[in-house]
Assembly symmetry: C2
Homo-oligomer: 215 residues x 2
DNA sequence: CCTACCGATCGGTAGG
DNA sequence: CCTACCGATCGGTAGG
């Protein structure tokens, strides 16, 4: 299933050096940050190998814990997944709302929004939104509810910018399907874009805007 | 992980009626069709629950076999996945090549291509291409090679129609990024489109063409 | 294609 | 957060 390298010490009678020699936590990252660490590495692993392809042991290894310890921070693997998605959406919403509130003219505002969303989907270390987009079915319905609320707010912001673009005749149609096609084109880039190869994210943003606007 | 209903007969001492009372295979679907059955139900399950979320037992149950029997037809679960993807691509390539060879004018040819691809991604029972698109990472590199060849042929056909659209000024740019954005918009619809709700596939094809062409 | 089974691994927990 | 462990389940196989 997964292909993580196995160091394989089934019943370690000797404490593993990596765990004992870790520097003491500073006051700053003393407490809540272990939870944040778990969310961050889980996002990366879920993106690389999928939710079902990632084991609690993969996650624990990646932060230097033993396999039972993530459950001190989260009730279940499902709750880690929900936290990953929430983290991504909250950050994305914040960035998007900031741009929407700016005084930029519609065309430029749109370009900045597209670049921001592309970054959220493509930039290295930004694994939260891709997990949201492509591991959605793995989240149990009761945990989906809260995430859906956030997602709806995100969609409403994009519907707003489309409406503004239409008012200045930069697009012909600002319906929901157009939003889905546009965001689909952007979101799907997570499947083919390789950071550092070919276009930069900035260049891709420009091409996407050109592709989409009837100039 | 998975949520398949469990009939749970751990060590059945009595033959299960469902297996014994199945009608005898006709000559027509005598042999190769058990393999085809496995591919078809696997495609559906892989799409619904993902490759890692689907067990050999899920697949065997769905075609009325016992859990060890799929391995009579396939060497491994991986090979089932590869067969699902190959089946989808061969059928998709055939349809696409047929349309490309037609005498339709560029705009109409494009519309038919978009509709054909949308069907391949959205229509009920068409689970092969979505599995290709969204379970790619689960396929081992040695099995990926053959599929990549087919995929490249598919991409080349789309690059051709874009080039034709540009020659008649229906699009401004026919580069590879444009192809990726267009097919991304279409492919991502597999994530939000619900058959029988809202737009028909035909209507969505029209909207996609309008969205994409600079009229 | 079934029977019967294997070794490995999984998510999660009790008790500290 | 670790130790030690559990029951369940997994992909796959030998032998028919």
């Amino acid at each position: 299933m997964s292909s993580s390298p196995k160091t394989a010490i089934p019943t370690p009678k000797v404490p593993r050096p990596a765990l004992r020699n870790r520097p003491l936590a500073t006051v700053a990252d003393a407490d809540g940050n272990r939870r944040a660490d778990l969310i961050r590495v889980s996002a990366r692993l879920f993106r690389e190998k999928g939710f079902d392809g990632t084991t609690i042991r993969d996650i624990a290894d990646a932060v230097g814990m033993r396999s039972g310890s993530p459950f001190y921070h989260f009730k279940s693997k499902q709750e880690i997944l929900a936290s990953v998605m929430e983290e991504g959406l909250v950050a994305g919403l914040d960035a998007t709302e900031r741009i929407m509130a700016s005084e930029l003219p519609p065309r430029e505002k749109f370009r900045v929004l597209v670049r921001s969303h592309l970054e959220t989907v493509l930039a290295e270390g930004h694994d939260f939104i891709p997990v949201l987009l492509y591991e959605w079915r793995s989240l149990s319905p009761d945990l989906q509810a809260h995430i859906i609320d956030l997602k709806d707010r995100y969609d409403r912001l994009w519907q707003q910018i489309l409406s503004q673009l239409k008012h200045v005749n930069l697009i012909r149609n600002d319906g929901a399907v157009v939003r889905l096609l546009l965001l689909g084109a952007i979101n799907y880039s997570a499947q083919w874009y390789k950071p550092g190869k070919g276009l930069s994210i900035d260049q891709l943003a420009d091409q996407t805007v050109e592709f989409f606007l009837s100039d």
